[in-house]
Amino acid sequence: MHDEFGSQGLVVVAVSDEDSKLVSDYLDSMGIQIPVGSGSTAGSAYGVKGIPHSVLIDPQGKVAWSGSPYSISKGAVKEALKGAKKRSTNFMAIPLETEVTGRLAAPAKSMAAGNPGKALSSLRAIEADAKSTAEEKTEAQTLIASIDEHVQLLNGQAESFVKARDVLKGLTVIDALAKEFAGAPIGDAAKTRAEAIRKDENLAKEIVAAEAFARAQEQASKLGSGKAKAKLQEVADKYKGTRAGDRATAMLRTKKN
């Protein structure tokens, strides 16, 4: 479903009521790409009795279809996609709940499009402009606060990834912040942090291992079972002790079964 309708804007997520460690370990061995939520209490609210079970929700937040994932109605999906907006998977995007008009419309649009750096410059200018009305200044400050909140969220997540030895993932976020906010304090701080991470011996090892693992997975997807396993085993052996090495090992364990 994700492959077929993802590009048309269908958001596909999986949720489980199990705890995060169980889900995290399972995902490590699987290589699933879609967002997966753990600790969800929604099952009973959705009347889920047997799993797996799928529910399609339309853009108005109403249930459009409910049933077995093996019999999802493509017709229902196509219908639900009519008038659906495409969700930006760009984690820099800050979608806004309310309509913004006037001078603030452009920066608001930039925020929603994933350019908060550009928006921030415009908003600071509006805030500092003597000709701005009090209302405009207040609104600019509100939007600036949203950007700061989002940046804090991303920084927090990046550090969690680094802490969990998912260093490459953490750097993806930090590098993006450095680029997006280049020239601003947020960007400078991110650049400094990225440099520190790359200089750290242990973290650097994790990065090398993660890159090797990504390459091995790419190659393995094109090879037969035996050769694919060998590629993963290479990573598991060479990068033992790293998160990527652990992941390769976990993946091999499931392939054996």
Partner: protein, 68 residues
């Protein structure tokens, strides 16, 4: 006697099928307001935690699953 027994079995069978079909249907009615996903931790996702109130305007396919 045999006829009575046969009728008895058929009756039991019908009752069994009726209760199976009559038990609360799985899932949620089409057209109902979709309840919140209430997820504690998101994986394979960066940014604001996903919830239906910030996915308004999108078509969402939710799969309920478990690791077992």
């Amino acid at each position: 006697m045999k006829t009575l027994l046969a009728i008895g079995f058929v009756a039991l069978g019908t009752l069994a099928i009726a209760s199976f079909k009559g038990s609360a249907p799985e899932g949620i009615a089409v057209g109902a307001e979709a309840p919140p996903l209430n997820v504690k931790t998101w994986f394979n996702h960066i940014g604001r935690p996903l919830e239906l109130d910030n996915l308004g305007g999108n078509a969402v396919l939710v799969e309920f699953w478990a690791t077992w």
